[in-house]
Amino acid sequence: MSFLEFSHISKTYPGVKALSDVSFSVEKGAVHGLMGENGAGKSTLIRVLSGDQQADGGEITIDGQAQKYASTRDAFHAGVIVIHQELQLVPELTVAENLRLGRFPANAGVIQARQMFSEVGEKLKSAGIDIDPRRKVKTLSIGERQMVEIAKAIMLDARVIALDEPTSSLSSRESEILFALIERLRAEGKVILYISHRLDEVFRLCDSLTVLRDGKLAAHHASLRDVTREQVVAEMVGREISNVWGWRPRKLGEVRLKVDGISGEKLRQPASFDVHAGEILGFFGLIGAGRSELMRLVYAADAATTGKITVDGKPVRSADPHQAIRSGIVLCSEDRKHDGIIQGRSLEENINISSRRHHTRFGILNPQKEIEVAETFIKKLKVRTPSRKQDIVNLSGGNQQKVILGRWLSEEGIRVLIVDEPTRGIDVGAKSEIYHILYQLAEDGMAIVVVSSELPEVMGICDRILVMCGGRISGELKRDQFAEQAILAAALPDKKTPTAIAS
Amino acid sequence: AQETKIGFIVKQPEEPWFQDEWKFADQAAKEKGFTLVKIGAEDGEKLMSAIDNLGAQGAQGFVVCTPDVKLGPGIVAKAAANNLKLMTVDDRLVGADGKPIEEVPHMGISATKIGEAVGQAIVDEMKARGWNADEVGAIRVSYDQLPTAVDRVEGAISVLKANGFKAENIFDAPQAKTDTEAALNAATVVLNKNANIKKWVAFGLNDEAVLGAVRASESVGIPADGMIGVGIGGADSAINEFKKPTATGFVGSVIISPKRHGYETALNMYDWVANNKEPEKLILTAGALAKRGDYEAVRKDLGIE
């Protein structure tokens, strides 16, 4: 008998059958991968495991015991820890408080603060996570928050640990910390469920693998020894995907966007770069390199203190995103939960919020057109949803990301498109569609900036890469110079001098 | 015959005074066998709705104590539109020109008159205690948002001044709300500001306001014989004070009779509706001072028990 068993799990949401009759099992001391397209039901399965959602049918057994959870607290007591797909942190509390929330070390209700901080500090250090446990979470960057989230896995002596896309906003360096952690947990004999859209990681880490499709079990591999990546992709998507990147050479035009010496509160050192019409420029860097900060300055999401921006030679002065949009610059930001989705509103409204100004008259909407745009992008990006009227919070993480992308891809008359971690949480199948759309836009003359922590992605789709490190641009590589080593070298903080200077 | 239905609308339904008016009006209703509809209307808008409501219920007339006398023309028009006979109690309606609307029958006592009675009671008590007006401070617990309140305290002040009180010895203690706590807080400030004055008199909108001033004097250590507070109303708040084992600075309260105001107005309206006997255009009642020693007798005299 296996240590962790799912048998005949089913779960239905209004209008969606998220899981139907899913059964599989995992051995003790194994890392088990869970893959599937966006909306396949991975997170739902994890939520059922964590007691957050109750399954309509089926049963989970751990170590031979059938589990019955009424709440997440029961699951904790049974030794189940789940790191959810979206960050679940309380910004106003400190790192240590977040990590011990729900299980504070207390004496008669009074928190043993000193003990808590030192314990958490030690555990963080032993896991190689360099974050002060006394810092408030609101002062951390997204990447750091993700590390805090991951640290939850080692705060308690758990039997089963599930990680839902833990690396989606991590760069390779932080990912390595996570992988080391997972190795350690495996050695301790825990059961680990690992969800990811990155095939490399799954093949590197996992002992066994389950693939879900449309809420059903599509494949189960007790061992990954004889399985190929192509096979897994086919099981997930239902078809072969030969070349995910699909890059083709393009003709570049004049300089479209020119950023000259821009700086702001969070990015003290002035940065300059330019992008040509038809070019896809990649920005790579480790977490905290300042890429997102730079892009937010360009988009006027944060106020710039110095610097000049020109689009097609015309200087742009914007104090707020709505002005930046009017001058032809848009930014799809990295934090979809905080800066992207508009909770409580439908997909249709989330897609149309910006681009609708092209089809309104005297401020009155054109409902026909809105439906058309929404339907187009739902189809184009393969958003899995019962209807365009669905509230966006009811979508799976990857599908939310697609909707936010749709918001910006539906824009007309845009000259510069900046996408920050555009494929975060998106499955391989949809990824290639998105790249295809980006190429299309570039061919039509748009200047595109892609910020990504995924090295294969920037190398796969960009014409040129700028590397950032410690808040400044530390390297530039043209496509023919692309090499993993060179890029990583420029991204590492101890390197002071730029490694590659393009002519 | 058609059932007789009469409305009785008051401006502050939670106030004991209006509760009493309603109680006595109910008594009249029971005696004469008509239906009494009691509605509270705290502001002009509620009042207009209340009149509509009465019309809809098929009432034939109503007695009203209006939240504001300036509503006069509106009330008259609304009553006519709903075909209701109209009488006022306590507060008399005025027209756009600021003069009383004579054709609406009214029973009441003017706010200024009550205030003057309070002032007189204070002056009498001062004389009895042998106080010199120059060494006495007066707390005017005020709630100027309410015109009736202004008229009452101004009435009291006019008597005090006529009896040698200096204007600079009268101190304003504005209540933020009309309850005792607000009066207490406001009066405390006045007392502390003028710590050199040892003898005080207090008056205000009602018993609760004056009680606040008396409590304030106690909390800063002024003995009962250093304070003369005279309230208005004479309902339970005042009686509780009189019942206390030792006398407090709350010397008396000017009682107006809710019996006459409630019972007689309802009866008059009934006679008007049922027997077509029009009431007198103006009946003025008088207030009576009740003190610790005689409040039971005074209340009995006024027909309240």
Binding site: P14, A301, D320, P321, H322, V330, L331, H338, D339, G340, I341, I342, Q343, G344, R345, E349, I353, S354, R356, R357, T360, G363, I364, L365, P367, R407 | E14, K38, I39, G40, D43, G44, E45, L47, M48, S49, A50, D52, N53, G55, A56, Q57, D68, V69, K70, L71, P73, G74, A77, A81, N82, V94, G95, A96, D97, D144, Q145, L146, P147, V150
Partner: protein
């Protein structure tokens, strides 16, 4: 058949259905309720709350809060009366009141959006300041109307229905349309759903918020004028506590205080439920003290029912 019934009952418009059923019950059980006179009276009694609820809906939907509405209504009424008394022209009076209302609203909006001051505190402050202005300008006393034509604003009828009810109906229509069919309405809802995301999506958040408050002021001006005409005077103490009634009506009608959710139909139902409760209690002659309890229980029942309905919906 039963399925269809279920869909109607549990659908988006479920609150409306519950309301219709409740209305039918009341009409059957309460004598004198379903008479033309009473219904007109009832409608007139909700005019002020209803008018102000139109824009309060926007305010709450954008995660804001406006406590100053009662004061603005009173102040605008005073201004309307005093200005028309002074100039002899009702038109000038009406214009002045609308202007004053809008200015106060604009002030609220500017302070809240530009200085980023908490809306609760800002409007609490203007609530006090404006009430103070109303009291000072009239020395705390009601101001009578010189020109009897002013009364006609509230007394005149069109097709047998008093003008204020028409005004209310027209405003319901306008703001219903604005909420669902205009960029302004959609932006308001988006801001309430996620202000930062809306800003990054190119919504001019500051301008939208300022507009919402300015509109709120304007609409309070309209309510103030009608109220002054109805009570035939400008009263500095009018509409005290209006904010709470209006906000309750909105919340009862499904507007979320956390922003992002609002429907005009819901708000209309909320306003009507509160109005009918008052009306019926008076028709049934419920004693004043018990009215408090009944009012509270009705509020609880209304949300509880709606809740059961929507959780049944969730469980479908």
């Amino acid at each position: 058949m039963t399925n269809q019934l279920k869909r109607i009952l549990l659908g988006d418009q479920g609150l409306v259905v519950i309301f219709v059923v409740a209305f039918a019950l009341v009409a059957l059980l309460v004598p004198n309720f379903l008479t033309e006179r009473n219904i007109l009276g009832l409608l007139q009694s909700v005019v002020t709350v209803g008018i102000v609820a139109c824009t309060m809906m926007f305010c709450l939907a954008a995660r804001d809060f406006d406590l100053s509405v009662g004061s603005i209504v009173a102040f605008a009424g005073m201004v309307a009366v005093m200005a028309s008394n002074a100039t002899g022209s009702i038109f000038v009076g009406v214009l002045a009141a609308l202007l004053c209302g809008s200015i106060v609203g604009l002030f609220n909006g500017l302070v809240i959006a530009k200085f980023r001051i908490n809306a609760l505190i800002t409007t609490l402050a203007t609530m006090q300041i404006v009430r103070g202005l109303a009291l000072i300008s009239s020395d705390g006393r009601a101001v009578g109307i010189n020109d009897p034509n002013f009364y006609q604003l509230a007394l005149s009828k069109l097709v047998g229905i008093p003008t204020p009810i028409w005004v209310l109906a027209v405003l319901f229509l306008i703001f219903g349309f604005v909420l669902n069919r205009t960029v302004f309405g959609k932006n308001t809802l988006a801001i309430g759903g996620n202000p930062e995301a809306s800003r990054l999506a190119g919504v001019n958040v500051d301008r939208t918020r300022i507009w919402i408050f300015a509109l709120q002021g304007l609409v309070c001006g309209i309510a103030g004028i009608l109220l002054a005409s109805r009570i035939t005077s400008g009263q500095p103490n009018a509409a005290v506590g209006l904010e709470l009634s209006v906000i309750s009506a909105c919340v009862l009608g499904g507007v979320s205080l956390a922003g992002g959710r609002a429907t005009m139909a819901g708000v209309i139902v909320g306003v009507m439920i509160m109005g009918i409760a008052e009306n019926v209690m008076n028709l049934l002659n419920i004693p004043a003290f018990y009215q408090y309890i009944v009012r509270g229980v009705i509020l609880l029942l209304a949300v509880l029912l709606d809740n059961l309905r929507s959780s049944a919906l969730g469980r479908r």
